[in-house]
C-alpha cells in the first residue's frame, strides 16, 4: 500500500504527516503521566471558569435592539419598493421558473385601463422557500432582495404565504410614463403584504384559481384569518 506514496503527483510539494504513536510506559509512569494529563485538561476548563471575559454568549431577546444581521443574510424575501412605494416587477415569471421548488407564484392580470399584462400578486411561500437566492440573482430588473429579518415563527403554517407587492399595477418605469395622476390611481390597486389563507396543498396553490377561491373564502384576501395587530411588539411582552 505504501508504494502509492511514490506515485503521488507533485512530489516536490507532497509531504506526508504521519500520526504519532501513543506510547505506553511502565505502571507508575503511566499513572503519573495520566494524572498530569487530567490536571492539564482541568486547567483549561478552569481558565474559562475563572475568566468571565471569555463568555461569548449573546443574549438574544435582550439584545434585539443592537442585534444587526449581516447585510447579505438571507431570511426574508422582499420586493424593493422605491420612496414612492413603487416596484419594478413586470411579472415576467423568470424568478418563478428559476425557483427550485415553486415557492414563488407570480400572478398577473391585465390592467383595467391600459389592458397590458402586469403584476397582480407576487406570492412567496416562506414555508417552502430554501433561501437559495436564485430568484434575486436572476431577476433582470433587480426587483427582489433578501432581507435579514429572521423573526418569523408563527402558530399556523398558512401565515407563511406572503404577497410581496404592495399594489397591483404596472412597474415603476411604466407608471412614470403615465402623466395624469387620476389615471394613475385607476391603474393600481392595493395589495396587503399578507395575502390571507391560501390553501397549503401545492397542487391547489398553483395558479390563480386557488387564490380566487381563498379570496371568496371565510376571511377574504385582505385581513387574514386570525390576526394580531401587535406584530413585532409581541416578543417584547414575552419577557
Amino acid at each position: 500500500m505504501m508504494q502509492a506514496t511514490d506515485k503521488q503527483e507533485n512530489p516536490t510539494r507532497s509531504g506526508l504527516v504521519t500520526a504519532p504513536e501513543l506510547k505506553r510506559h511502565g505502571f507508575f509512569r503511566n499513572v503519573f503521566s495520566g494524572i498530569k494529563s487530567l490536571l492539564e485538561g482541568m486547567k483549561v476548563t478552569f481558565h474559562y471558569l475563572s475568566h468571565p471575559s471569555t463568555v461569548v454568549t449573546q443574549q438574544y431577546p435582550e439584545n434585539r435592539a443592537t442585534l444587526k444581521m449581516m447585510e447579505r443574510y438571507r431570511a426574508l424575501l422582499t420586493m424593493i419598493h422605491d420612496e414612492n412605494g413603487l416596484h419594478k416587477c413586470t411579472g415576467c415569471q423568470i424568478c418563478h421558473d428559476n425557483c427550485p421548488n415553486a415557492s414563488i407564484n407570480v400572478v398577473t392580470r391585465s390592467n383595467p385601463v391600459s389592458g397590458k399584462k402586469e403584476l397582480d400578486r407576487y406570492i412567496w411561500r416562506m414555508d417552502s422557500c430554501t433561501f437559495c437566492n436564485l430568484c434575486v440573482q436572476v431577476c433582470p430588473f433587480g426587483v427582489l432582495k433578501m432581507d435579514g429579518s429572521f423573526e418569523g415563527a408563527v402558530y399556523d403554517r398558512r401565515l407563511f404565504v406572503f404577497t410581496l407587492n404592495h399594489y397591483a399595477g404596472p412597474a415603476a418605469g411604466l407608471l412614470a410614463k403615465v402623466a395624469d395622476p387620476e389615471e394613475r390611481k385607476k391603474m393600481i390597486e392595493p395589495r396587503d403584504r399578507y395575502s390571507g389563507p391560501v390553501p397549503l396543498n401545492g397542487q391547489e396553490l398553483a395558479g390563480v384559481k386557488a387564490l380566487k377561491k381563498a379570496e371568496s373564502g371565510c376571511c377574504g384576501g385582505s385581513g387574514g384569518c386570525c390576526s394580531d395587530s401587535q406584530g413585532s411588539q409581541g416578543s417584547k411582552e414575552m419577557k
Partner: protein, 234 residues
C-alpha cells in the same frame, strides 16, 4: 398529567374564590412549563446543526431559557424540535416518539423541510410535506435552516403559547393565542402609512376594513372562522 391538573379543577371551581385560585394556579403552572422546556435530542438533517448551534454553541446558549437539558429519552422531554426533513420511512418513528412523550408536550417544526417539505416538496417520492401531517405542531419556525436567533424567537413564541393558551380548566387543550397575521416586524400602521403614501385617499378603504376586522378579532380573542385556526388538541 396527574390529579392536580385533571381532577382538581372540577372540585375547586365551585368553591367561592376557587376561580381565582385556578387562575393563579394557571399562572404558576404555565410559568413553570414555559421556562422548563427540555428538548428531545432529535434532529434529522441540516436544521439539526443550526439547532445544535442554538442549543450547543456558547454564543447562543439555550440554557438561558432553561432549555439546555436535552433529554435523549422522549419520556423525559417536553419539546420535540423537528429539525430537518421527515421522510416516509421516518414518519411512523416520529409518531412513536411523539406518543412516547409525556404530557404536556410541545412540538416545534423548524425549517422549511419540517414545515412543508421545503426543497424536497415536489418530485420526491419520499419526503413528507410537512411534519404536521403526522403530529400536531405548535410553532413553526421558518428558515432553511433558521438561524439560532430565529430558533429562540420560536422558543419565545412557544412560551407565549404556553403562558396564554393553556389552562388547568381545559386539560389537554391548547388554545393558540391570537395569531400574527402580519409578517413580523410589520405593523398595520406601517402598511397603512405606506399604502396611503402611494395610493392617496380612496385606496386606504381596503386597509381600514382590514384594520377593523383585526381589532374585532383581537377583542374576541379567538378566531371565529370555521377553518380551524385555533387548533385544539386532544
Amino acid at each position: 398529567m396527574g390529579i392536580i391538573t385533571e381532577k382538581l379543577p372540577c372540585y375547586i371551581e365551585p368553591i367561592p374564590g376557587g376561580s381565582l385560585l385556578l387562575t393563579s394556579m394557571d399562572a404558576v403552572i404555565n410559568w413553570s412549563r414555559a421556562n422548563s422546556l427540555w428538548p428531545l435530542t432529535f434532529g434529522t438533517s441540516c436544521c439539526a446543526i443550526e439547532m445544535m448551534m442554538a442549543t450547543g454553541a456558547p454564543r447562543h446558549d439555550t440554557s438561558r431559557f432553561g432549555a439546555e437539558v436535552a433529554r435523549p429519552s422522549p419520556r423525559q422531554a417536553d419539546l420535540l424540535v423537528i429539525a430537518g426533513t421527515i421522510v416516509r420511512r421516518m414518519a411512523p418513528r416520529l409518531k412513536t416518539l411523539y406518543e412516547q412523550m409525556g404530557e404536556p408536550r410541545y412540538v416545534m417544526a423548524t425549517g422549511s423541510c419540517a414545515i412543508s417539505g421545503g426543497p424536497f416538496m415536489y418530485n420526491s417520492y419520499s419526503t413528507i410535506r410537512g411534519a404536521d401531517e403526522i403530529i400536531p405542531v405548535d410553532v413553526y419556525v421558518p428558515g432553511c435552516p433558521p438561524r439560532a436567533e430565529a430558533f429562540f424567537y420560536g422558543l419565545l413564541t412557544l412560551q407565549k403559547l404556553i403562558k396564554e393558551g393553556e389552562s388547568v380548566r381545559r386539560p389537554g387543550e391548547r388554545r393558540k393565542p391570537v395569531l400574527s397575521a402580519l409578517p413580523p416586524g410589520i405593523t398595520l400602521d406601517q402598511i397603512r402609512a405606506e399604502m396611503a403614501a402611494v395610493l392617496k385617499s380612496d385606496a386606504t378603504v381596503n386597509v381600514e376594513q382590514a384594520a377593523k376586522k383585526l381589532e374585532k378579532e383581537s377583542q374576541d380573542g379567538q378566531c371565529e372562522s370555521a377553518d380551524g385556526c385555533c387548533c385544539s388538541r386532544t
